[in-house]
Symmetry: D3
Subunit: 192 residues, 6 copies
C-alpha cells in the first residue's frame, strides 16, 4: 500500500489537487503494481510563513492549466473555425505537421492544406492521454475518428486519427497529426 506525501506551498485549489492526486497515484502505479485503491496520496499545504528556502519565504506559482483541457478547447475552436481564438492559444514558434506536410507555422497554412481535401471535418474522441514530459512541455494525445464531407459532397466517417500536442506555459507549442484518410481514399479508389 504505497503512500505518497506531497508538501507544497499553499495555494492550489481542489481541482488542481485532484489532478495532483491522480497524477501521483498513476506515477506510483507506473512502477508498483498496487491496486489503485491501495495507493494513498496526502497533500500537505504549507502556508507561506511555514515554508522557508534559504531562510526566505517563497510564493507559490499558479498551477499549470490542465493540458488535456487546453487541447480539447483548441480542437473545438478549430472545428468552429474560430481562427482568432485558436491563434491566441498558440505559443511563439508553434508548428504543426499533418499527413504529407512539413512543419507549418500558421493556421492559414493548415486551412490551405485542407482545402483540396475536404469541405469540413469533425472529430469523435475515443481517448486522451496526457503527461508531463521530462522537459518543459506536457504531452497530450488525442485519438478517435474523423467524419465530414469530401469536396465532391460525399460523406466520410470512422476514419482513425491521432493528434499529439506539446503544451508549455499554457500555450500549444507543437501539433503532430496522423490519420487514415489517404489509406481510406486509396482503398476506395482501388475498390471503385
Amino acid at each position: 500500500m504505497p503512500i505518497v506525501e506531497l508538501h507544497v506551498l499553499e495555494g492550489y485549489d481542489p481541482q488542481e489537487k485532484q489532478r495532483l492526486g491522480e497524477a501521483l497515484t498513476n506515477a506510483v502505479r507506473f512502477v508498483v503494481p498496487a491496486a489503485p485503491e491501495l495507493v494513498t496520496v496526502m497533500i500537505h499545504d504549507m502556508p507561506a510563513h511555514d515554508y522557508y528556502r534559504g531562510g526566505a519565504r517563497r510564493a507559490p506559482a499558479p498551477a499549470r492549466p490542465d493540458p488535456a483541457g487546453l487541447v480539447r478547447e483548441f480542437l473545438s475552436t478549430m472545428e468552429a473555425r474560430d481562427l482568432e481564438k485558436a491563434r491566441a492559444m498558440l505559443a511563439e514558434g508553434f508548428t504543426m505537421t499533418f499527413p504529407g506536410t512539413g512543419p507549418m507555422e500558421t493556421l492559414e497554412q493548415l486551412i490551405d492544406w485542407s482545402r483540396p481535401r475536404y469541405k469540413f471535418v469533425t472529430k469523435t474522441y475515443e481517448g486522451f492521454d496526457a503527461m508531463q514530459g521530462a522537459g518543459d512541455a506536457a504531452v497530450v494525445y488525442c485519438r478517435g475518428t474523423l467524419q465530414g464531407e469530401y469536396l465532391d459532397g460525399s460523406a466520410f466517417e470512422g476514419i482513425r486519427f491521432i493528434d499529439r500536442f506539446e503544451v508549455s506555459d499554457g500555450k500549444l507549442t507543437r501539433q503532430d497529426v496522423w490519420n487514415d484518410m489517404a489509406e481510406v481514399k486509396a482503398n476506395a479508389g482501388a475498390q471503385a
Copy 2:
C-alpha cells in the same frame, strides 16, 4: 519547491526507484510549474517488519517492468521477424489495428496485411512517451519514421509513423498504428 515522499515496502531496486523518482517528479510538474531541479522526491523503504496493514505484514509485489522498454523490445523483435519471441510478449486478447485494418488478433494477420504493401520496413525512432493510465494498463507511444523497400524494389524513407501500445502485467494488450504511407504513395502517384 515541492517535496514528495513515497513510503513503499522494501524490495525495489535502484533502477525501479529511478523510474519512480522520475515519474513522481513529472506528476508534480504536471500541475505545479516548478523547475525540475526544485522538485525533490524521497523514497522511504519500509522493511516488511516495519509495515503493517490491518495489523499484518505484507509482501511487496515485484515492480512492473518498464513498459517503454517492453515496447522497444517488441518492435525490434518484429523487425527481426522473430514471431515466436514476439508472440510470447502478447497478452491473451491482444489486438492490433493498422491503417486500413480492423483489429487483428495474430501476428500472422499482420504479416498477411503487410505482404502486398512492402518487402520490409524498419523504424527510426524520434521519441517515446509512456505513462500509467487510470485503468490497469500503461500506455506507450512511439513515433518516428519508416524506411524500407516497396514490392517493386524501390526504397522509401522518412515516412512518419506513430504507434500506441497498452501494456498490462508485463504483456502487450493492444497496438494501434498510424502512418503516412498511403499519403506518401498517393502523392507519389499524383506526381507521377
Copy 3:
C-alpha cells in the same frame, strides 16, 4: 521518546482526538517502556481535498462512540429498570450470560432470572477497562461491588462483580457477568 503520527481524514472532534491520543499512547507503552510523558502523539488532519485513495477523495466515517461510555449508560439504564431504553442499546443477536445461566437473549429473561435472587441490586464501580479487539468489537470490562436487598429484606453489599461487554457499531452485542453472590450466600449459610 517514541513519537506517533496519525494521518486521518479531517472530521474528528477534540474529544474523539483525545481518545485517539490516549489510545495511541497506551498502544506504544504496551511494548515500549517509556514514561507516558515521553510519548508524543501528533494527529495530522487531512482535509478531504488533500487526501486521495486510488486518486479519489474519501469521506471520513463518524467516530465510534466511546464504548466505556455506552456501557456506563447501559448499566445505569438497567439499574433504573428503563427496559425500553436499555433494549434500544442492544444489537441484533445480543446475548448475556449471568452466573448459572446459559446465554439469554432478552432483558425479560434477565429479569426473570433475578427475581428469585434479590429485590434490587446496584453497582459501585472500581474500574473500567476498554480496548478495541482484533475483530469488529470493542471490549469493555467493568468491575466493582454489588449492593442491594435480598428477597427476605436483608441487605447485602461489597459483593465483587465483573462484567465483560462487547460493543460493535455503537450497540452492545454481548454481556458476560461474574460475581461472588453465590459464594457469599454459601458462606453465610455455612456460618448460620
Copy 4:
C-alpha cells in the same frame, strides 16, 4: 484510511514490532471505524546516532514482555503447582483475590484456600484480552471454563471463570478471580 507512523529508537525485534503494529492498529480502530485492512502502521527505526533529545543520544529501553504471554505462563505454572517458578513471576506487593477471600499475598494462602474446595482444577481458555493501562501496569483478562475434581472425587467441568491480572515491569502485581463454582454447587445442592 488512517495511517500511523511510529518513530522509535532502533532495537525492537520483529515480534515486538508485530505487537506494536497490532496495538497501534487497534488504538486507531478504537475511535475510527475503519476496516482493519485500511489501517496502515509504519514503524521508523531511529538508529541511536540519528536521534537526539536535548542534543544527546539516548539508548532504547528493552521491550516490555507480552503481558498476555506472561499470564499464560503463570497460569500453566500454577496448574503444574510449580510454586517456586510461579513465585518468581510475582512482583513485590503482589496480591490476589479469589471468590470469598480478601487480598492474599502468598501462593501458600491460595493453596490453603483451595484445599477444602477441590482436589485440582485446570483451565480451558476461551479468550485473552490485554491492554496497557494509563498507569504503569498492563491489564490482562483471561476467561474460559474450569474443570477438575471435587474433594469427594466427583468431576466438574464447564464452570465459567475470569481472571484479571495487572503486570508491571514483567512481573505480576495483582490477580483478581471470579468464577461460578459456588453458584454451580448451590444449584447442584438445590437439585439434590
Copy 5:
C-alpha cells in the same frame, strides 16, 4: 538539498517562524555545505487538540524574544543614558565586565567607571551575531567602532569594540566588553 521539518505547538507568529526558519537553515549549514537556497525548512503547526504528550494536551510557551533585538535596544537605551529603562532589562545577578574592571553589578558602577575616561561615547555597528547556547542563555555579539569625546573635549572615532551578552528569559544576564581605547590612547601618547 537537506529538508528540515519542525513540528511545534501552534501559537508562534510569522516573525517568530521566520527566526526559526533562519536558525534551522543555518544549523544545517553549520555541518552540511549546501547552498542556502537548497535548504528547505517546513514548520508544521500542531493545534493543541492534535498534540498529546503522555496522552495529555500541552500549551505552547510564548516565544523567546529575539536576543539580538533586546541587545540593540539595551545599547540604545544606555547611549540615551535612560538608566531606569536599561535597568529593567537586566536579570537578577546581571554582571558586566569592561576593560580594566572586574565584574560590576550595577549600571551606576559602569557610569562611575566611564566618568574619568570620556564625556560620552556612541557606537557604530558593524555586525551582530546571535545564537542559542547549550545552556539556558542565548549569546549575542555586537561589534563595531566607538566615537565620542574625551574629557579634554577632543573627539575620537573608529575605535574597535566588541560586546558579548548573555540573555535568558528575555533579560540580560551578562555583558563583557572589549575595545581598543587604551591601545589608541597609548599610541596617541607614544606619538605625542
Copy 6:
C-alpha cells in the same frame, strides 16, 4: 515538545550528526523556550538511490569540518609558532586585525606587530561560541585570558581577550582580536 526531522543524503558520520543534533536543538531553542530534553531531533538518512532532485540522483557533499575545532587547532599552532602549518589553514585573502593594527594579510606581519610587545603569549580558554552565519562563513568566538612574558622579562597573566574568526570551506578567512593588554599596561603605568 518540538520535534525536528532532518532529511539528508546518507554519508555523514556519527560525529557530524551529533553536531547537527546539537545545532538543530539550539536553533529551535533560540525561539521556543522548551527545556533541552524536550527537543527531539531525528535525522533521516537518504541513500542516494532513494533521493531525487529533478528526477536525478545527487551525491552528498562532505561535511564542513567543525569550525571551532579548526580555530582551536590554529591557535595551538600559532602558540607553537609553527607558521608553515598555520599558513596552510588560511584561505586566500585572509586578513587579521589586532589591537592597533589595520588588517594584516600575513602571519609575518603579526609576528612583527607582536615583537615589540611581548616575548611570548599563551591563552587560557574560557569559552568558544560557534555558529553558521547567513553568508558562507561560520563564525567562531574564542575568549579567555592571556599569559606570557613582556620584553623586560616580567610575566603577565589574566589579561582578558576575545578572538572572532570567520571560517569558509575549512579555511580561516578572517580573524579579529581584542584584548585588555594596553589597558593593563596603562593601569600598571598609572600605578607605577
